[in-house]
Subunit: 132 residues, 6 copies
């Protein structure tokens, strides 16, 4: 299996339908960025065996909450984290740690993104949407 195939498989495994929607939306403006998104983060990095999918999503949430500059991607990875088996309590626990590393405003805004993502799950119940 080559890199684009591995990337597509990982993207679907971690982000489900959302991943596909994001890639298609990006492709309208930049097919190159859409392709690189599949191939590099998912095909090269996520597909590596060194960490399991749940741990990778924990790394994603911690990184994005600390950066505090990428709410759409943070929300997308909250959905991804739920999909690969993080509970809501674990996600909220990560954002409590954000107060330590990046301060209270970053943590409050990450928690607000969690609120929004959790509400989206409520409204569109799906296998990954079961409250935890």
């Amino acid at each position: 299996m080559n890199i684009p195939e591995k990337g597509g498989r990982e993207l679907e495994a971690i982000l489900g339908k959302i991943g596909d929607q994001v890639v298609q939306a990006v492709a309208k403006t930049s097919p190159d960025l859409a392709r690189l998104l599949v191939e590099y983060p998912f095909g090269e990095i996520y597909s590596r065996p060194g960490l399991d999918p749940k741990t990778r999503e924990i790394v994603a949430l911690a990184s994005l909450a600390a950066l505090a500059t990428a709410r759409p991607q943070l929300k997308m990875h909250i959905h991804g984290a739920l999909l690969v088996g993080c509970t809501r309590e674990e996600i909220k626990e990560i954002f409590l740690m954000t107060t330590v590393f990046a301060g209270f405003p970053a943590a409050l805004n990450a928690m607000d993104a969690a609120r929004e993502a959790f509400e989206e799950v409520e409204r569109a119940p799906s296998p990954e949407g079961k409250p935890t």
Copy 2:
């Protein structure tokens, strides 16, 4: 057990002797910051049951590598991560993910902090120093 006691216990459990050294160094300039460091991050946050110590150190490494503004704390938590059971390969895998979320320069500098921390472990072999 009260918050300062819980904080002291967590600090030692996660960072070992390094934690104590950091607290004592900070205390020379600001006893208040030293006390708050024990009480808030360790006494309030790390001591919570919601995530195990290894996962908390993964969150710490991901956050600090993405921020790219706190090399001393990143190095300290690389030592902490080794102490609570992360392998070197897992730590390096987290920093490969940093390329995705915060770019290559942040990842290269985190990997360089890992190199330095790993070398410190080599030079001062201790129980947590066993290469993985």
Copy 3:
């Protein structure tokens, strides 16, 4: 008076009704973060005698404007600054300084948050709403 009590008192003194609303909103997603917000920033830090409330709000505005990643919290502290006695001219003067430390985009966006906060004050005249 214990930390939670001190925190609640400080929160009210500095942010008025807005502080209470924020805490209640956060509590719906994370009662823990709501509690920590009262206890740590307000109970531990704001309640210290070393700086007066007005100076603390100046520190808040300077920090948040420079970070440029926390517009809701910046707006909240613009209201807080007005409430503890900063004039509009002083707030705008802080954001002129943001051009020096964090660049023009950060300053322009902080000034736009000020515009929005000032307009909210106009629409809902209250004791703290007197234009300065």
Copy 4:
């Protein structure tokens, strides 16, 4: 020609009508920031001979995309870049480079700002609006 005159001329040359709108909007809250915006970035920096206008807009786009904290200013400079001769393909190429220096989320959000700016150009066709 003095600094304010040079600034006004540069602002118009690079940002067209948008520049004037931004200055007038800022002036309602802070006439000082509006004046400094004309005089410093445009009067002092952009008006220097050392780099041509197109290169200056490339620097602006690279800087703002990497910072990832100033979407309104990024969008404004996408319009500016088109006006001084950057093609859409060149702008998108800069944001592909953002993946390297600041990570995929920053690049994705910059590309989304480009999408929005390009759509604005479509809706309000003007000399600079010719798709490239």
Copy 5:
């Protein structure tokens, strides 16, 4: 008095000899940046009447500690803050607030810069060097 003169006067008033040394050091690589540093931050912004010099240094310290990317400038402004009348306790209090807005690592590194600046004052006793 024109802008360059006002800038030179402010620079000396706030940073003393250190300001002059910084400007001369920068001038070796970029006389333009040295000139702009005198004229814009000091000639245009610091010289404004809206905030007193001590408050301006509080804004500087809060901004630079939160950004966590400019240790040389943070240290310079710690010296400046001492020179215009901030006490060591006030400076440390600002950095305790940094834990709230930007997290513990940023606060720890700002406090370490304070330690270094305070030690420099001890070694080279001068009028502003009196411990507070």
Copy 6:
């Protein structure tokens, strides 16, 4: 020519011997990151035809100066910029623009990295070392 070959060729074209040294240094800690550095930034991005090498280095300098968190990489790309034909005056002009987008501290530290890189060129005269 495949991606690793393209990456190796681009790396050498833009960074000369320095690129090779960086890759080899990284490889000691993480052969994976060394490989990804060649393949993604250089093999996938730099090797694209959409921007010429000089423009790509301008994007690199603007991005890294604005981020202000990656001095080693900034210095490396100052060497790269000289190698692909940027003059010292152009590099300094980019960093003057950094004052606008990211503030004076970021610009001062970028200029100091330029000073250091220029001095390295003086000490080790090479084809790309001719002062401009």
